[in-house]
Subunit: 207 residues, 4 copies
Amino acid sequence: MQLSRNRVEALTDGVFAVAMTLLVLDIKVPELQPPLDISQLSGRLLDLWPKFLSYMISFVILGVYWVGHHFQLSFIRKVDRPLVWINLLFLLWVVLVPFSTALLSEYPMTQIAITVYGLNLIAIGVTLAGHWWYATVETRHVDADIHPALVRGALLRTLMAPSVYVVAIAVSFVRPELSLFLYALVPVLYILPGRIDVHWGRRRQSN
Amino acid sequence: MQLSRNRVEALTDGVFAVAMTLLVLDIKVPELQPPLDISQLSGRLLDLWPKFLSYMISFVILGVYWVGHHFQLSFIRKVDRPLVWINLLFLLWVVLVPFSTALLSEYPMTQIAITVYGLNLIAIGVTLAGHWWYATVETRHVDADIHPALVRGALLRTLMAPSVYVVAIAVSFVRPELSLFLYALVPVLYILPGRIDVHWGRRRQSN
Amino acid sequence: MQLSRNRVEALTDGVFAVAMTLLVLDIKVPELQPPLDISQLSGRLLDLWPKFLSYMISFVILGVYWVGHHFQLSFIRKVDRPLVWINLLFLLWVVLVPFSTALLSEYPMTQIAITVYGLNLIAIGVTLAGHWWYATVETRHVDADIHPALVRGALLRTLMAPSVYVVAIAVSFVRPELSLFLYALVPVLYILPGRIDVHWGRRRQSN
Amino acid sequence: MQLSRNRVEALTDGVFAVAMTLLVLDIKVPELQPPLDISQLSGRLLDLWPKFLSYMISFVILGVYWVGHHFQLSFIRKVDRPLVWINLLFLLWVVLVPFSTALLSEYPMTQIAITVYGLNLIAIGVTLAGHWWYATVETRHVDADIHPALVRGALLRTLMAPSVYVVAIAVSFVRPELSLFLYALVPVLYILPGRIDVHWGRRRQSN
């Protein structure tokens, strides 16, 4: 095969690295108005907490998707044009995260901002699930002896986040603060080791 | 050979990752004027649609060029100083895409903005074609047994986009909206698998 | 093992490259007010010295942490989910350095800015130490024959910086300029070859 | 050796990719004042020519240094702590190029801006020469059978640029436009194949 997995990984890692780092550009150093009263600085810094919180949630969510992509690619043996383009679509949504994060941190209790942020995350998750589905259907791009339970388990695990985000958007019409809690909750579900890691453990020696 | 293909790929992947991600900096979170009327936010977000559309077109066009570069490098066996410099010229034009995209999204129906955007894309495409020509002439940098039809087919395929962009620029004097349609059309032509993928398929086992 | 060390390194190197380069965005070209008096430019450039100094200190401190991460990964043989997440937490703090540097360079003699900068560096250092501790405890992720003195030495060396930063924050309440001196001093301690390099030297042939 | 050449290359390629791409942030889309007269746009774009020219010169100069670094690393067999730190110092100067380029493009005929830009380039070149000197003295980090003429030739070639920049700074006191010409000239000298490529050619088969 001419298309190499290495370069797809390199572009993906680069886009994630830049997107994760651009998140910080939304946290601006407070500018004090003259007459300069330096004692205001602490208060102004504390006012930045929604920015810091959004930064951390988005960074960790990007981390979850990066680990998910990493996990998928570790099983993929060959890359073709459609798979590269599904990957590029995935990155297209990833790059929008600094925008939707800045929107959410600017208007944290606003239904429309919560919806835009959620739709962005749903687009990422669904595309990543589609990437896995395309790669594994008829085991075209993976080892032929991959266990069907692993294929199915990883798909469901990937679709878990978008499902919660759909609920978070629905909830935002009545309780926006609950939506934010759900956004912060999702990464926790993924960071905790799951049943998928057992399969991982079993396959450990084969790689 | 002292110059390594790996580092040329690493720099190229890095530049593409950053350029693709910088595109999002042009999409700014709307700032509402006080007195704050949060209901305006939806409308202000919808007003951003030319920014989102330009973002997506440029991201996908950069994706097309990245896949094209990826394709070329998969055949190139050695890298010399002139080839590295053609590659750097290619990247010089790639880095300008966030600027020409921002210009087009700010003035989408303006002939001069359409022209600048088109010239930027033509420069990328022609340089990438030159890169392939230089690498394959007398099969200096590729395998000696590469099929002449593949060499010629890839060259024509690479020159297809700049040709359409020349038409788009010409058309912009009378129908700017048609030019924008042509810009959005080009990536579709490239994402659809073409005859080149058949050659790819044939060579699959050799790599 | 499915998770690859290479991709963890690639993401880390990418984040460090972007964070190091974003530091320069805080150094703005002086804008002269009309009537334009170009002779003012030298003075205005000299006024930027706290920006340049902060830039250099932060760049070198990030360099120290990058070398430290590089050093750890050179001993780590396998990567699991918790280790990847400790690494992502490490990067989460690294990405904040452009912010805390901009804060410090804007308010260099202010106790709260010195504290925020110090806390950021402490978070990086403690997470990096935790990364090493998790990787080496019961030699789970490293070679079983790694010398206990190396494990312990590297841990203490990593914890040296956060310890100095705690002192720097304490000192900032009475002598902020001394805190800045301590921040500038720490990288010097790490750049000088230490006892750890002897172990390095000994192991040189094994890799 | 524990420190790997790969990661030094990855960080370097990443920093170059970001620095090259950040250069474009200095080229801002013209904002027309209302009443909007779109016919002014062409003129406003043409006014950007010093920005475009500075962008291109700096991009190509960074390309020259990247190729030079690439060339050196291709001979270096092992990396130790001092070499990593010389490399980080080299990157510290590279990251400043977007700043000094923005300064020069804002004040192109100003002696102080020409000097700052030149000093930045001299710092990069001298550090890169020091990197080569440190790596090759007593052939510590390179193959023992490297030809002394190659060692010396590469050193002189690397020092050529800083020498011209010293002249350019001196000249800027009387003829600033001549300094700019010298800045634009230097990359041309490096892009043209030199005697060093003969050695390259000779060694081609060994790698």
